[in-house]
């Protein structure tokens, strides 16, 4: 039995944590939240220099070939630090889509730049209310030109290029689009988590290059499944950060002459947060194994990891505020950074009802085999 990260990866985790504590303290997220910039460009550059963006990208495409377990380790730490960078959009989603569906030429053309952080890509799937489903896709590519509206698009305001799900000749597929092109409009959206950029992207006859087969929905699903595991690690990291904050506050804050952490109401609340976080962590680990080994169980593992992680981070973030009492719901305290991020991550790539439904689909499929 070897169901834990290797000593090397644990060392990476420690280094990552130390690095992010220095270069991505919560005030970095707060600057973005307060609208000073759409993302932390300095942090992005540093992260790129460390090779993190190419952690799971093969060396022939400019990555460092650390592998997916390594990427999971990084994701957990980024979640813990509520880092305000377009990592998930550019790497978990766009780069993965190109890896999964791109031609050799496309991989050569795009991946090295994404791995180097020279270019930022976003993943444009949603078109307003709805969970991932081909019937929701109305954006259309005709004669190589994309028209339609995508919203919300995470990091759509800062990306150089987009991987766009669009309809062409009745089928939904993926397309690569340069965003610095006439016909592209971008509008920043106000969202629950302003520490991450979100945009409404309009396309009017914009050149679009096919990425993978015309019937690309299976690839979309595969990309979402794989991303779900990486998102789960971010969420587990966030939940763990909330639990730490809450525990520390409960030890330090006194009421009625004793630390509030000595009251069972707080103790049992935090025990429940611990339980949810550990369950989510274990489900995420299984996802990491499935991701790294590209196992047949990946879709089921991904759904389980995501459902568990959504629940844990939601619980941890809201009860962290509750443990902090009055200070918890002030803008000045950091609790809300995590509360916002918990919901942002819970909705990106599809909300809990979608993933629960997917999970049972996969159970049915498993039983039919």
């Amino acid at each position: 039995m070897n169901f834990d990260f290797s000593d090397d990866l644990k060392l990476l985790r420690d280094q990552t944590r130390k690095f992010l504590r220095e270069h991505s303290p919560t005030k970095s997220a707060r600057r973005i939240l307060d609208g000073e910039a759409p993302y932390d460009a300095a942090l992005w550059r540093r992260v790129a220099e460390l090779g993190w963006l190419g952690a799971a990208i093969p060396e022939e495409y400019g990555g460092i070939g650390l592998g997916y377990e390594g990427l999971c380790v990084l994701a957990e730490e980024l979640g813990m630090a509520v880092s305000p960078i377009p990592f998930s959009s550019s790497i978990y989603l766009a780069a993965e889509a190109i890896l999964a569906a791109g031609s050799e030429a496309q991989k050569q053309a795009y991946l090295p730049k994404l791995a180097a952080g020279e270019r930022i890509a976003c993943f444009a799937l949603a078109e307003g209310p709805g969970n991932p489903n081909p019937t929701r896709i109305m954006a259309t590519v005709e004669g190589g030109k994309l028209s339609g509206v995508k919203l919300p698009v995470a990091d759509g305001g800062i990306a150089d290029m987009a991987v766009v799900a669009a309809r062409s000749e009745g089928k939904v597929g993926l397309f690569l689009v340069e965003l610095a092109t006439p016909g592209v409009t971008r509008e920043t959206l106000k969202t629950i988590d302003p520490s991450r950029d979100h945009a409404k992207l309009g396309f009017d006859q914009v050149p679009a290059e096919p990425l993978g087969p015309a019937d690309g929905w299976p690839i979309v699903r595969r990309v979402l499944d794989r991303a779900a595991i990486l998102f789960a690690f971010e969420q587990v990291g966030g939940a763990g950060a909330c639990l730490d904050m809450a525990r520390n506050y409960a030890l330090e804050r006194h009421a009625f002459g004793r630390p509030i952490g000595s009251f069972q109401a707080i103790k049992h609340k935090l025990a429940d947060v611990y339980i949810a976080t550990e369950l989510a962590r274990s489900n995420a680990y299984y996802g990491a194994w499935a991701l790294a080994s590209d196992a047949a169980e990946l879709p089921l593992a991904a759904a389980a990891a995501r459902v568990s992680a959504i629940e844990a981070f939601h619980l941890a973030a809201k009860e962290n505020i509750q443990t902090h009492g009055g200070m918890g719901f002030t803008w000045a305290f950091d609790c809300h950074l995590y509360y916002r991020r918990a919901k942002q991550l819970a909705l990106a790539i599809g909300s809990a009802p979608y993933w629960k439904d997917r999970l049972v689909d996969e159970l049915e499929r498993r039983n039919e085999r």
């Binding site: 804050r253 609790c335 809300h336 909300s351």
Partner: protein, 411 residues
């Protein structure tokens, strides 16, 4: 059982309606009310003062107060009837409830006639607004843990310290203030109550920005603020006893967590299409809708039972604590679920893009504060356990110790 007024209640209700019809617009006749009730506009204060003056003139400003103070010696059920009726009209609300509901009643119990003659009428007419300076950074749920010092200096007291969570401090004219006058006495014994002008030198008010982006509360800093001894309320060292009058009134005033409810989820799902069909046909949606509806109705009819008790001349007990204990966390879950239903677009808060003017998203950001302010989920459950069910209080390690020897966690 019925939902009808007694003849006396019906007569009073008619009187109230006549007053309201003459002086205000029915909500149903006005512009469709905006959902985003969390944010108030800037003219609200001026309009609130005007409206309060009208109410006072008609004798509706404080129905249960004695006639000599501008009340009508009315009953609690009459106040409830007035509130019910007023809720149907578009009138500015809220800014006087702390002063008239908590501060002035406390003063009435302890101050001399001259003082009351000076302060009660302007408060009633809305000319002067009062706030309540109780909570502190070191004393939230544990109110008596407060540290703001009052030290005697001749005929004055000199105040240094900080209050927090003070609603309306930034527009208030006066406040009642609880201080620690003897840190060597036991926790509840060394406190003394005062009132003061919020314009006193050394008083600084800073709004607190909440995670919802609004500022419903303030921090208030006191630096060598001088209060004459004549503005003391009650005896030196009796502050805790005096404060209880105020707090009892607060518990009764704590109500529903405002925001979207089961009916709003129903409105959302009646038109929303999910991937597999109309949201209203989805069994998981229906179950949650039923669960929340049942809770809301349960609270509604619990209030009706309380009103019946009032109507029969009984005094309702701490049972009303259940309203906030249920509705604040329900609001949090409804906000969250409403967003989940919108899938990947659930996080959008632009009011023109998000369904129902981003009402669910606003609720998610407002709910954490509602689970805390006015008694946390945990404090409310303690109150129910102790005062309704008669279970023992928590073990207290801070009761029989001089205040300055109680562990505070400060190094």
């Amino acid at each position: 059982m019925d939902f009808n007024d007694t003849p006396e209640e019906a007569a009073f209700r008619a009187e109230v309606r006549a007053f309201l019809d003459a002086n205000a617009k029915l909500k149903s006749e006005a512009q469709p009310a905006t959902r985003r009730r969390y944010i108030s506009d800037r003219d609200e204060l001026t309009r609130a003062k005007l409206w309060q003056a009208k109410k006072a003139e008609a004798g509706f400003a404080r129905i249960t107060w004695p006639k000599r103070w501008g009340g009508r010696d009315g009953s609690a059920i009459q106040q409830v009837i007035y509130n019910e009726e007023e809720a149907r009209y578009l009138v500015p609300g809220g800014v006087f409830s702390i002063g008239l509901g908590m501060c002035i009643p406390t003063m009435m119990g302890y101050c001399d006639e001259a003082t009351l003659q000076r302060y009660v009428p302007p408060a009633l007419k809305g000319e002067e607004i009062w706030c309540q300076l109780f909570s502190e950074p070191a004393g939230g749920s544990d109110l008596a843990g407060l540290r703001t010092r009052a030290e005697r200096d001749g005929e004055d007291w000199v105040i240094n310290g900080q209050k927090i969570w003070t609603s309306g401090a930034h527009y208030s004219d006066y406040g009642i203030l609880i201080t620690r006058t003897d840190p060597r006495a036991k926790k509840h014994a060394g406190l003394t109550m005062f009132f003061l002008s919020m314009k006193s030198p050394g008083v600084e008010v800073r709004p607190i920005k909440q995670i919802s982006g609004t500022s419903n509360f303030n921090e208030v800093f006191f630096t060598d603020v001088r209060i004459p001894d004549s503005q003391r309320i009650g005896k030196v060292g009796d502050g805790w006893k005096v404060s209880l009058t105020t707090l009892m009134n607060e518990r009764l005033a704590v109500g529903d967590a405002p925001g979207p409810d089961a009916e709003d989820i129903l409105e959302l799902v009646r038109t929303l299409e999910l991937e597999d069909g109309p949201a209203i046909r989805n069994a998981a949606v229906r179950e949650r809708l039923a669960d929340w509806y049942v809770k809301s109705q349960g609270l509604k009819y619990t209030k009706f039972r309380t009103m019946t008790a009032l109507s029969r001349g009984q005094t309702p007990g701490p049972e009303s604590s259940i309203t906030k204990a249920v509705s604040a966390s329900k609001l949090q879950e409804i906000g969250s679920f409403g967003m989940d239903l919108l899938g990947m677009a659930g996080g959008i808060m632009d009011t023109e893009l998000a369904p129902m003017q981003a009402w669910f998203q606003e609720a998610l950001l407002m709910a954490p504060g509602l689970r805390i302010a006015g008694g946390t989920d945990e404090i409310l459950r303690n109150i129910i356990a102790e005062r309704v069910l008669g279970l023992p209080g928590d073990i207290r390690v801070d009761k029989d110790v001089p205040f300055n020897e109680i562990p505070s966690g400060r190094s």
